[in-house]
């Protein structure tokens, strides 16, 4: 941090100023000229929060994707299908048992198990042939999407989360001051804030797991040099299965969390696959920190695009992708 300030004083000042302006935009009551330029403050803050929470959701999905890739060099194009399947399974369990948390747990475990199954039955058979693995995952995603459509039809499903997650929280942010002098505070759904909290918790948990535990150390070693790790007596296949379980499980977990925030319907698999792809390309393949940065960027870009220029919203996301690839082909946190 201090090194950065000393080396890039100019950029440090720019970042500091940007952060200050940003904080001011969130907490201050907007003067009229800003309102006429950007619209109401409520829209801005809500879009910002939507973007951040969506980024959190994207992080949940993409972190599993990037984890699997980092260790196994396997682009799992069925990741979106795992997300959707997790959502459906979670919904069924939650409906049958009446417990949303049970649905969440079962979705995580079931999708983790199917991830292990995929690793053991398919990827182990074609190790090192990354292109074939990618094509296989593509085939699986086609079949899975079609079978899920057959079982759960085209209906949109809506979860019923626990009571205390319902409703809106009043944020300590004033949107406008009424003529009478009373400040109007901005409200925001509690559930979406919870999604953000869960994403942050998962992110910290993953970081601790990778950087502070013995297994995490093995995984990092495997990312750097798989053969050397295997030569030093670690059961690499077991490690692969474990990482695949965590990565897939996170997708299933995100399926329930995201399905509750939005909804579960056919086509969501492609949406989240696209999100994961862009997030990890932007953030850098194989880097969990990169996935967090990428998810935040893409989530914000998507929501701001939707709110301020609806017809060209996708272009903004795409522009970020192009700029990152042009400047840093390996992604923001990627190493090559």
């Amino acid at each position: 941090m201090r090194q950065f300030v000393e080396r890039h004083t100019f950029w440090a000042i720019v970042i500091l100023l940007a952060a200050a302006v940003f904080l001011w935009m969130i907490f201050a009551v907007w003067p009229d000229w800003l309102v006429s330029g950007l619209g109401r403050k409520k829209t801005f803050v809500n879009t910002l929060l939507n973007g951040v929470t969506l980024g959190g959701l994207y992080f949940l999905v993409a972190s599993g994707f990037t984890l699997v890739f980092g260790l196994m060099r396997n682009v799992n194009l069925a990741h979106g299908s795992l997300y959707l399947l997790g959502g459906y399974i979670g919904y069924e369990v939650a409906e049958a048992s009446g417990s949303w948390f049970l649905g969440l747990a079962v979705a995580f475990l079931a999708i983790a198990a199917s991830g292990v199954l995929m690793q053991v039955l398919i990827f182990r058979r074609m190790e090192g042939d990354d292109l074939r693995q990618t094509l296989v995952t593509l085939a699986i995603s086609i079949i899975a999407a079609d079978l899920m459509l057959a079982v759960w039809t085209g209906t949109t499903y809506q979860f019923a989360p626990p009571e205390w997650l319902f409703g809106a929280a009043t944020l300590p942010v004033v949107s406008v001051v009424k003529a009478s002098g009373d400040p109007v505070f901005i409200k925001y759904p509690i559930y979406r804030l919870t999604v953000l909290a869960v994403a942050v918790a998962v992110g910290i948990g993953l970081w601790l797991f990778l950087n502070r535990t013995r297994i995490g150390m093995m995984i990092r070693a495997g990312v750097n040099d798989r053969q050397m790790l295997s030569a030093s007596g670690v059961n690499v296949q077991l490690l692969f299965a474990l990482v695949f379980a965590i990565g897939a499980g996170l997708a299933g977990f995100a399926g329930v969390v995201g399905g509750t925030a939005l909804s579960i319907a056919p086509g969501e698999d492609v949406r989240y696959l696209l999100a994961s792809l862009i997030v990890v390309i932007v953030g850098g393949l194989g880097s969990v920190t990169g996935a967090a940065i990428g998810a935040l960027l893409i989530g914000l870009a998507e929501q701001f695009g939707l709110a301020y220029f609806p017809t060209y919203g996708v272009v903004l996301t795409f522009l970020i992708l192009v700029v990152v690839l042009a400047v840093r082909p390996q992604g923001i946190m990627g190493t090559r």
């Binding site: 682009v75 990618t134 593509l138 999407a145 079609d146 696209l274 017809t311 060209y312």
Partner: protein, 356 residues
């Protein structure tokens, strides 16, 4: 790279000239004994899909770059035909004559593919798949959201080929021959282009980019040029496709169909330019007659399973399956014929540079 084992060219088709001539004759007289349905819905459609897949095969087989955005490029050309020419929706439809619209659409599609190439050639292998898939999906969402130019969810309808020389080119027979001419022309161009200096350098770059760079070749430029050329193929096929369907909508460039193009190319075989056409015929036949096998709704399961089986058990696709069977037959014969043939056939595994 793993891509090499999947995509190295093979040298077995050029030796079979009699068979090739027989196929050409069969394709030319095909409409004389087939019904309109088989000429138009099966014949012309297979040729168009095959041509789009050919543009992918050219990139993947000779360049080692698997781009999933080929259908996007074709769809872009189709959209341009609807936007610049006539459509019955009432949005855009600038009414330009066909001889301006079609070249513009094809060229714009090629330029779009050049742009896609410029973005993705900086990365390699599976990264290319990921980036081009992201581009394809982004294009799908873009045309679906954009109502001003692309007319959003509805898309365009009422796009028809021109009536020229007193022939309505939408009629099954003329349209079949038009598709056949385009497909055959591009097939010939790819076959011969593969043996040109450019084609050979492209294949050398696929096999060893570092060495080619050291030899002074501009690797990036070659790859981008390949994207441009494949964009021409995909764009032309895209124009035919929009004429075939008469309409275009975001569904025409959706993820399903984008992946279908890859499925067609892989199922057919990426080693030889004829592979995509085999794959397209198989795909279209399955699409039309899977209804007799199982529920029409579950078509994607059938095609996905076929794709999975091919990738798992015959990475070279149908073409590889065919080659394997024939080489087994040949092996048996060779055992009797002895050393002379062995020398001739022994060339095959190293034959990747010869293209055809």
């Amino acid at each position: 790279m793993a891509a090499r084992s999947l995509f190295s060219g093979s040298a077995s088709f050029a030796e079979r000239h009699p068979a090739a001539i027989a196929v050409i004759v069969l394709l030319l007289v095909y409409p004389s004994f087939a019904s309109d349905f088989f000429v138009f819905q099966i014949g012309a459609y297979s040729l168009i899909l095959g041509t789009i897949s050919l543009s992918l095969m050219m990139l993947a087989g000779y360049g080692g770059m698997v781009s999933l955005a080929q259908m996007t490029v074709a769809g872009f050309a189709g959209y341009l035909v609807a936007i610049l020419g006539d459509n019955s929706v009432g949005v855009m439809g600038l009414g330009w004559p066909w001889w301006v619209t079609v070249p513009t659409a094809v060229l714009a599609a090629a330029l779009l593919n050049t742009f896609i190439g410029a973005i993705s050639v900086r990365t390699e292998g599976i990264y290319t798949i990921m980036i081009t898939l992201a581009i394809a999906v982004a294009f799908f969402y873009f045309v679906r959201q954009n109502y001003v130019i692309f007319n959003g969810f509805t898309g365009f309808a009422g796009v028809a080929p021109p009536v020229l020389f007193g022939v309505d080119w939408r009629d099954p027979l003329p349209f079949y021959y038009l598709s056949l001419a385009v497909a055959g022309g591009f097939l010939w161009a790819v076959l011969h282009g593969a043996r040109s200096t450019f084609g050979l350098s492209l294949q050398a770059i696929r096999d060893n980019p570092r060495r080619m760079r050291a030899l002074g070749y501009d690797v990036t430029l070659h790859r981008i040029a390949a994207y441009f050329l494949s964009g021409l193929i995909a764009g032309t096929a895209g124009v035919l496709l929009v004429w075939f369907n008469g309409r275009i909508s975001p569904g025409s460039v959706g993820v399903d169909i984008v992946i279908d193009i890859l499925v067609i190319a892989v199922v057919g075989g990426l080693r030889h330019p004829i592979g995509p056409f085999l794959g397209a015929i198989a795909f279209v036949l399955l699409e039309n007659f899977a209804i007799d096998l199982i529920d029409r709704e579950r078509f994607n399961t059938v095609i996905g399973t076929a794709f999975l089986l091919i990738v798992l058990f015959s990475p070279d696709g149908l073409l590889g399956l065919w080659n394997r069977i024939t080489s087994k037959v040949r092996l048996g014969r060779r055992a009797q014929l002895g050393a002379r043939n062995e020398k001739r056939d022994g060339r095959h595994p190293a034959g990747s540079l010869e293209g055809t």
